[in-house]
Assembly symmetry: C2
Homo-oligomer: 377 residues x 2
Amino acid sequence: MARVEIGQHLGMSPASVSDLAASLLDEGVLVTEETADQSSGLIRGRPKVRLFFADTLGSVIGVWTGFNRIELRLVDSAGRNRASRHMERPLRNLEAGELMDVLAGTISAFAQETGAPNVKAVGLACQGYVDTRDGIVAWSPVLGARDLPLASGLSQRLGKPVLIENDASAMAFAIAQRDPVLRSGRTACLMVGDGVGLGFLIEGELYRGARFGGSEFGHVRLRRSGPQCRCGGRGCIEAYLADYALHRDAQLIDHRPAPTVLIPSESAMTPIVEQARAGDATLMKLFHEAGEVLGDAASILIQTLEPDHIVICGPGTRAMDLLRPSFEAALESQTIPELKALATIRVVESSMDLLTEGVVMQALRELDFDLARLKAA
Amino acid sequence: MARVEIGQHLGMSPASVSDLAASLLDEGVLVTEETADQSSGLIRGRPKVRLFFADTLGSVIGVWTGFNRIELRLVDSAGRNRASRHMERPLRNLEAGELMDVLAGTISAFAQETGAPNVKAVGLACQGYVDTRDGIVAWSPVLGARDLPLASGLSQRLGKPVLIENDASAMAFAIAQRDPVLRSGRTACLMVGDGVGLGFLIEGELYRGARFGGSEFGHVRLRRSGPQCRCGGRGCIEAYLADYALHRDAQLIDHRPAPTVLIPSESAMTPIVEQARAGDATLMKLFHEAGEVLGDAASILIQTLEPDHIVICGPGTRAMDLLRPSFEAALESQTIPELKALATIRVVESSMDLLTEGVVMQALRELDFDLARLKAA
DNA sequence: TTCTTTAATTCGAATGACGAATAAATAGGC
DNA sequence: GCCTATTTATTCGTCATTCGAATTAAAGAA
């Protein structure tokens, strides 16, 4: 952004912005645009000089841990993506110490192989109840550990600050960073995939509950009886919508033996979706029910949070065409029209590496705060 | 509060507080404590001099409109209650203009009779979807009008600024003003009475949705089928918990004719509660179901908002002893223990005049803001 | 070349907050 | 009754921020 724009954005006079920018340029935190001008030619007057963060201030690594997959990403201080990688690696059944050793090893190997310059911080996102402030994973289906001090554990092993975050929150943050509209007002972001998570943003800032961030919204029980959920209950949102639930129920319908795959991969889901699209009645019914539950879930969100935007994202959107009719119908019938009219609903087909982008941005922010604190001291 | 305390509270130095206080004392906005000292005697050192808002800066009238009742309250600028009154007056079936005439008439008569000194503003709370910012009641079961520009209408008639607010929000605000604990963190306040409303506070500030404030949480549908709700649907929270629902179902159980009382008064509810307490099995079942629904509602709130505090308030708490067993059981069985442990749940037996206090405080706040703006100009 | 337009900088002034020193008002001890 | 300790409040000089106004810079238009 150019100095004038920053001023308008922050409600400050150009004089003040100029002042501050000058000192940050001196310190090397900011750099000015080199490329003379690309779009001007129509605009009269002195051209804007855009300011960027320098790309020499270090870098940040973002990590996402899924059930049997780790995604890694390296971003420099200018916000540019330098490298990314994913690998298959089941993390369950590891003892707490082992788990942190494996993660730390994977991260530092990635840093070494990509020649990561001056890694300043690491951000990690995973499913479950993540206490970002204290750096503790209270519970996660992925890591299979309780009250795990993951941030301090990794921080010790890597010698760098580590920020941990709920994955739906990280995803919501990343999606909102890409679209200014979603950064204004309240945005509820439902992530459907291995589970069902909720990331909630108020004016672009992540909503934090009493302790955790994004909620495991999937465990809200919408039906008094219903399919079995991982949490032990029945009729949870997740028990209809999550990949594992759809996969399991598809198997059961075919009268095949009980499923052996606890966490279906993308390739295991594809045939189910395609058979349903081809017209398989029993599978269609599964997706119909799932869509209905998704509609009920959105309805609850609307009537509780009254958001400006609802975003449906995550791998589960692959079958949105199958979910949509019953989703719309349920949403319509359950929601007071006055409220429904206020919320725009959009589907964002977001891959999991958007998520690592999200944690990186969160971690960058933390660094900024530290920088501010350092300057104050 | 004394100057030192204000400083600690605001994180400012005593010097700055002293400065600002001096100018406000000059302007007559603040006054110092007259009564020499009441509690000291044990504390050494120069005694604190407490500062109060002057009571000569005008007053504010708070109004609550229920189904067949209007509550009024006059508060001076020092926050002291000067007068309050309530009157029976059904407001339904009035045309928009008439309605505002009646309300304006009632309010100015109250002001005149109580000799209200220099009324600066009026705050009004009612059930329904209230757009505080634009001063429009989008829908209210009480006023029976749609998209009513109530604030501007009353403001014109009274010649004063008028603030309107959802009643559950006003109640939540008032309750939190009385208890500092509820002003820290996130507080979800369920008001059970004529309907079921939700006021949500984040760090003591009312949460605002896309347009309205407190949500008509009662219309979240928890059961796919169930008793009839005023909104036309079935199985809404309200259809189990609200006074009208309990009253209606109690009548139906007794095989009496369809209820003629749409909005039961307190005296109509008392015998129902007492018969249930006495052991009437069918009535007990009604309260049992209502408690269960209340538990489910609290569970949804916990898993969506992750609040630090849940407050159950409103006239419906009169039967809390009957609701509690099934409430606790439902809450327990539906909620992830990690989340439930974070929220304290309390029942506040709050009368409706607490509510008028709430709107008054809201309106006072608006005035303060205006004062700040005036001083800036 | 000169004028217009927009961006950025410089400089002086105003504001607000703070630290340090000081004054004020009390209780306790002798 | 006097002195000391203790806590509260004020005064004053200093410092950092921010802004308005004027100025300089860099382009296109005439």
